[in-house]
């Protein structure tokens, strides 16, 4: 069953069995979102559990199936904000040098770290809020409407932000020079 089918199935029945399928489909996404926002693995695991439990508890409130992922990441975003408030934590900008120095334990971890380095290195030119938007748009593949739900902003504003974000990335990647 793919992710969209898991979502539809859970929203239709809202029982433990369908939630199990949805949980396993979404866990990785949400976990990765928190890692990308600068939390450590243990915190990311805890927050992911909180988010998915909130999805289970509040599924009855959700109305528009097409905006499910927007709703999901809006919960995730709010959970992270509350976590920061509780712990007075700030976004940790993970220095790329520190990432490279970490010992690699497996091939999967090594491959993952390389991919993460490449993507995050490119996004490091952005502000944290822009990085979050880029992650949700290009990694998680959220639509403009879903992003509007996450950030509680109009679709037009989301599109503008994406436009400026791409311009900024172009400049940092030296694409301007290549075109010329």
């Amino acid at each position: 069953m793919d992710e969209q089918q898991a979502i539809e199935s859970f929203l239709a029945q809202r029982d433990e069995e369908t939630f199990c399928v949805l949980f396993k489909a979404l866990y990785g996404r949400v976990f990765r979102y928190f890692l990308a926002r600068g939390t450590d693995e243990m915190t990311a695991e805890e927050l992911t559990q909180n988010v998915l439990l909130a999805v289970y508890r509040r599924a009855g409130e959700f109305r528009n199936q097409n905006l499910f992922r927007g709703w999901l990441f809006a919960i995730a975003r709010n959970e992270l904000l509350q976590h920061w408030r509780r712990n007075r934590a700030r976004i940790r900008t993970v220095e790329l040098d520190q990432l490279r120095e970490r010992p690699v334990e497996s091939n999967v971890a090594a491959a993952g770290m390389q991919l993460r380095l490449e993507f995050e290195e490119w996004l490091s030119a952005l502000e944290p809020a822009e990085r979050e938007l880029a992650h949700l748009r290009f990694v998680e593949g959220l639509s403009y409407e879903e992003l509007a739900a996450v950030f509680d902003a109009p679709s037009g504003t989301i599109k503008s932000r994406l436009f400026y974000l791409k311009q900024k990335l172009c400049r940092s990647a030296g694409l301007e020079a290549q075109i010329k």
């Binding site: 996404r29 508890r57 993952g112 993460r116 993507f119 593949g141 172009c170 301007e176 010329k180």
Partner: protein, 159 residues
């Protein structure tokens, strides 16, 4: 806005969305404007590279099957708390303390008691680690509200 094209219109155009009339207008403009044509190419290349990089990033497994199973087991435990009195008792304790000591004090007292107990946080409270948490909260209530207040907390918190 650049040459009558807003950032939203640019975004729609580059993503292949937007109204036909607007796309035609922008097409016509790009035919004549070198700068905008260069910008469009630049942004298209950027978006393509973003998608390619992000796509490989997306493909990487974040959680192994074993990790997912273990996370699901932990989730089952937390879901079961919805059906047991633990959450209900927490709500009652918070209500009792709010009445006597105010909402901020109540929230902090519960968090402090949880932090000082084996549970470490309110979210990790279960039937098994409830007793030490309640004892911790009782000590706080006794100091703040006296013996009767402590008695109220003790009885409100009985599972």
């Amino acid at each position: 806005m650049r040459h009558g094209i807003t950032p939203e219109l640019w975004e729609d155009y580059l993503e292949g969305a937007g109204a036909c009339a607007e796309r035609s207008r922008i097409d016509a403009h790009l035919h004549d404007c070198v700068a905008c044509r260069a910008l469009a190419a630049q942004l298209t290349q950027c978006a393509a590279r973003l998608r390619e990089t992000a796509g490989r990033y997306d493909a990487r497994p974040v959680a192994s099957a074993k990790k997912l199973d273990s996370a699901w087991e932990a989730m089952l435990v937390r879901m079961s708390l919805d059906d047991t009195p633990v959450q209900q008792r927490l709500d009652e304790l918070e209500a009792a303390m709010t009445l006597l000591c105010g909402s901020h004090t109540a929230a902090r007292a519960l968090q402090t008691a949880a932090a000082e107990s084996p549970a470490r946080s309110l979210a990790r409270l279960t039937r098994e680690n409830w007793e030490p948490f309640l004892r911790s909260l009782l000590a706080i209530a006794q100091v703040l509200c006296g013996r009767t207040g402590a008695r109220l907390i003790l009885e409100s918190g009985q599972l």
